[in-house]
């Protein structure tokens, strides 16, 4: 399944509302992310940004509102279909296939874009051979990008945390996605790992639209062109990061919270 390329924003949400029983997690959030943009979503704990994120990439179904990715409505589309249409995401915690090697992890990542029947493989059809070649090339590219060239045969589970996060991005990159969702990619990283990670995201950004949910304001400031602040399920402001961080309501919301880790 492919989503037709259309003019307009890469990701667009209108009046997203999400209620869990009597609790309103999100109340009327709208956003437009332009193609090629790195867009941040920030907010205090429990503000609803993870819920918003899950809704934007189709894992959670909103109570009301519409989401369009590359101009196509994704309501009711199963997550694996969305994944196959050029959208990739990383997860906050369960980031990699821990029992498999780095190489196998990347292989799993290619699932979305590789479809060859048994016959094609047995008889070595031309398209199969070509895709095989393309795959090999892609693996090498991604391994170099994420700096795991020398670790390809190691089990993902034994890698350092920051390295696992890089691998998670590598898995997402295998399908060469147009849109990437990164869920708190720098959470739990030390300063060095965070700096490496920011460099990695900058390296992969050209030609892609990237959405990041993040606690670490330094990451948002360094990467994002614009950021949306969500407080108590409401959108407060969308602007450049330094404007956003000085917005009075944002300052109030974060008062006492540590935004300068």
């Amino acid at each position: 399944m492919t989503i037709a390329v259309a003019e307009g924003p890469a990701v667009s949400a209108r009046d997203i509302v999400k209620r869990y029983g009597g609790v309103t997690a999100l109340n009327g959030v709208s956003l437009d992310v332009q193609e090629g943009e790195i867009f941040g979503i920030i907010g205090p704990n429990g503000a609803g940004k993870s819920t918003l994120f899950d809704i934007l990439c189709g894992i959670t179904v909103p109570t009301s509102g519409s989401i369009r990715i590359m101009g196509s409505e994704i309501a009711g589309m199963p997550p694996h279909h969305i994944a196959r249409s050029g959208v990739a995401r990383t997860f906050q915690r369960t980031a990699v296939f821990a029992e498999s090697t780095v190489l196998e992890n990347l292989l799993f990542g290619r699932h979305a874009s590789f479809h060859h029947g048994v016959l094609g493989r047995i008889f070595g059809s031309k398209t199969f051979a070509r895709d095989q070649q393309a795959f090999q090339t892609r693996v090498e590219e991604v391994l170099t990008l994420i700096g795991l060239d020398g670790e390809r045969h190691r089990k993902a589970g034994v890698l350092a945390y920051g390295v696992q996060r890089r691998l998670a991005v590598g898995i997402a990159l295998m399908s060469d996605p147009k849109i990437m969702f990164l869920d708190e990619p720098a959470a739990g990283m030390n300063g060095r790992e965070t700096a490496d990670f920011i460099a990695l995201i900058r390296a992969i950004a050209p030609g892609r639209t990237i959405l990041i949910v993040e606690h670490d304001m330094a990451v948002i400031r360094q990467l994002c062109g614009r950021a949306l602040v969500v407080v108590d399920g409401r959108p407060v402001v969308v602007d450049e990061p330094h404007h956003v961080l000085s917005h009075p309501e944002v300052v109030t919301a974060y008062l006492g919270a540590d935004d300068e880790e």
Partner: protein, 336 residues
Amino acid sequence: MIDREQVAVSDKKRSGRTAREASYVACALIAIAVFAYTFTDPFVVTLAGYTCAFALFALSINIILGGVGEVPLGQCLFFGVGAYGAAIGMGKLGLPFEVSVLIALVLSVVLAAIIGVITLRLTGAYFSIVSWGLTGVAMVAATNLEEITGGPLGLFGFPPIEIGPLQLSDPQTYFAVTATILLLAILFLVALRRSPFGAAMDSVRQNPHLARSVGVDVARVRLKAFMLSAPFAALAGALAVPYTQIVTPEVFSVANTVDGLLMVLLGGAQLVVGPVIGAAIFTLIPQAMNLDPNIRILVFSSIIILIMMFAPGGLHQLGVALRDRLGRKTDDDRSR
């Protein structure tokens, strides 16, 4: 998706591996032949045949446990379908054994499709409990449908069981047939594990959310695995009949599944032949040591606890850990 082996293994290594695997298969065939025609004690040979049949059941359980990571407490349902299918086909309908078995296999797949669509929405303990519950339904049905199943007494007194010219009542033939079928099943499962579908199962087992996010249809993979596991269990149930000579509602007992699960845990879920190793240990040791059935439960429970504590991946994990440790040592030496 790509053939994972194409990437992980170079051509040279691959052809070397194919040769090595072909030699394993040849060795296994020779071992089967030697065992079948040198051991003359009919009891031992028949028991070995039954062990092979039950190992098939353990393999079926492991398609779910080692494949997609669920604990299929209801797997004996399909074992029972195979056993009753063979018994009813032969005893009530007068069909040949092989035809009865084929029908039972098809039935088991259909049943798995229906049950799977309903129960595979559940995960973890919920899936296990619901599938266990369904075996209770099957047991009650088998007990009460006396016309078809013979009721609580079950079905027995079959005509001589044969597959074409092969007399399964002859211990040697019985063993040779079940062992060969087991070998074919192992070969199939090895190929399956290396296929794109095997990779998809592995990704679903390890991390369903991440699998979904890279485009794997998780529900479909789980259902396919379940439907694939059912005929293995049914075949095991049918092949057990020549040994047991009776099929009672007890085949639907969860104790049956637990035996199979123990074999898997004993041998290791992540190795295709793990369950077979487990089945061999599980059946042969109590016989060799002449254990009382009650003591057997005690002994195996203790062994399982110890294995889960020290080698949660099963006995073969100990071997792998040893090999890795030795391998890492040489790697380190090289890097120095």
